[in-house]
Amino acid sequence: MAVFTLWRKIRQVGRTAEPRPPHPGGLSCPKAAALRGSVQVRHVDAGSCNGCEIEIGSAFGPVYDGERYGARLVASPRHADVLLVTGPVTRNMAVPLLRTFEAVSEPRIVVAVGDCAVNAGEFAGGYGVRGAVADVVPVDVDLPGCPPEPAAIVAALRGFTGR
């Protein structure tokens, strides 16, 4: 029976989540003070190569378990407090990114995840690229790296949740 196989696997594997690292300390953004332990995150891919997406996926996977600090990925920008924007902003994604930003209610925090989002990286000056995220929407926190490690993404989110 598939159920028993799965149950045995659950028993064998036990807890996959790594022990909780010490809190990076303080809030990484003054706007996060109102959130108090609960951060809803909407991820926007503005033209990324999907390297950062894999790392964001891992940050919420069983090993890093971003959810234990009170951060959760949500399905709608209306539910979100934080936008994780990845990739250089392409011409086609500039308007959708702006609309997503406007759909988030105040106070809203924008995180530029990865080198491309911070300064357009490898793709700066490309004919299809509008620029870095900060050229389209105001960015509160930069998270450099190509791609940033899941631990760095989790640390940034813990800076918002304060847990």
């Binding site: 036990g14 807890r15 108090r36 332990g37 378990d65 709608s76 209306r78 209610s105």
Partner: protein
């Protein structure tokens, strides 16, 4: 209305409002532990609600009164249900209202309000979610009613408190075929109505598979908090009703003395049901949308068999 009765109603309201987010947190925590994660803790839904309540709601362009009223009506209908349903006590002065039809009607009122609000947003996902929710509702309501008839036929009343009292006086009823079939039918229906796996996935980010989640995509801030609180309360109330109808022991009568114990037993029963549901959700995948009517038709057949056996085998 006398003191003990008011205390009983207050206890039911406080336990359902305060406990509903904790139940959702418990179910998420059980799932997280079984998936090898640490989990955010049982109190996380309350932290989310506390934050959302202090954020301003957003009124998307083009939405009208249906969108603005829905969260209030949804919470209102859930509060009325929490006050009248026989969850902690069977001697509430509002018991006369706790008729099977009234409870089903109040549940449907909440669902239909939210579906209208989703249509009001005019987005593709809102309309899709509303049409799916109404499809599920149309298949779920007859099953609740028919399964309820299987229980009420022997009591001679569709009053839920009367059914629970009759079961208390005659415990062997629970083991009768009619009762067992009705329990199975109602369990499936509760899962469908509250949007849990395998009918709907409450944690999904894929708009194309959403039912409940697709309807609330446009809500923000305190409106979203109300919708989420109401959804959690409906889950608590339906699990509580299931517990009261089929495992009624421990429910309080007219006396005030039994009330604290009844509250503790109610919390334990609902927590056990919720934890079980959360554990089962780890093992099942979401059904294809076109298979959902088959599952619900199966539960309707169970309910029909329950009614038949309550007449022929009783």
């Amino acid at each position: 209305m006398n003191g003990p009765a008011l205390a009983a109603i207050a206890a039911q309201l406080v336990v359902t409002v305060a406990g509903a987010p904790l139940l959702v947190g418990l179910m998420r925590q059980v799932r997280a532990r079984l998936e090898g994660r640490a989990g955010a803790g049982v109190g996380q839904p309350w932290r989310d609600l506390r934050k959302l309540l202090r954020r301003p709601p957003v009124t998307p362009r083009g939405t009208g009164w249906a969108f603005r009223l829905a969260p209030l009506l949804l919470v209102g209908s859930a509060l009325v249900l929490a006050a009248i349903a026989p969850l902690v006590t069977v001697a509430s002065p509002l018991d006369a209202l706790a008729d099977l039809f009234a409870v089903v009607g109040l549940l449907a009122l909440g669902t239909v309000t939210l579906a209208l609000a989703a249509l009001d947003t005019g987005t593709a996902f809102g309309g899709m979610g509303a049409s799916r929710e109404i499809t599920v509702l149309a298949l779920v309501e007859p099953t609740i009613l028919v399964a309820g008839f299987a229980l009420s036929a022997r009591v001679g009343s569709t009053n839920l408190a009367a059914i629970v009292t009759a079961t208390l006086h005659d415990p062997l009823r629970v083991a009768s075929p009619a009762s067992l079939l009705a329990a199975a039918a109602l369990l499936i229906v509760v899962i469908a109505e509250t949007g849990r796996l395998p009918v709907d996935n409450p944690d999904t980010h894929l708009e194309l598979t959403m039912i409940h989640e697709a309807m609330i995509l446009e809500y923000a801030g305190s409106d979203l908090a109300l919708v989420e609180l109401a959804a959690a309360m409906r889950l608590t109330i339906m699990l509580g009703l299931l517990a009261s109808l089929f495992v009624p022991w421990g429910i309080a009568g007219a006396s005030l003395v039994a009330l604290p114990l009844a509250v503790v037993i109610f919390v334990a029963k609902v927590a056990a049901l919720g934890a079980g549901l959360g554990a089962v959700e780890v093992f099942v995948a979401k059904l294809r949308l076109f298979r959902v009517p088959e599952l619900l038709a199966g539960s309707f057949v169970l309910a029909l068999l329950a009614v038949a056996s309550s007449f022929f085998l009783a």
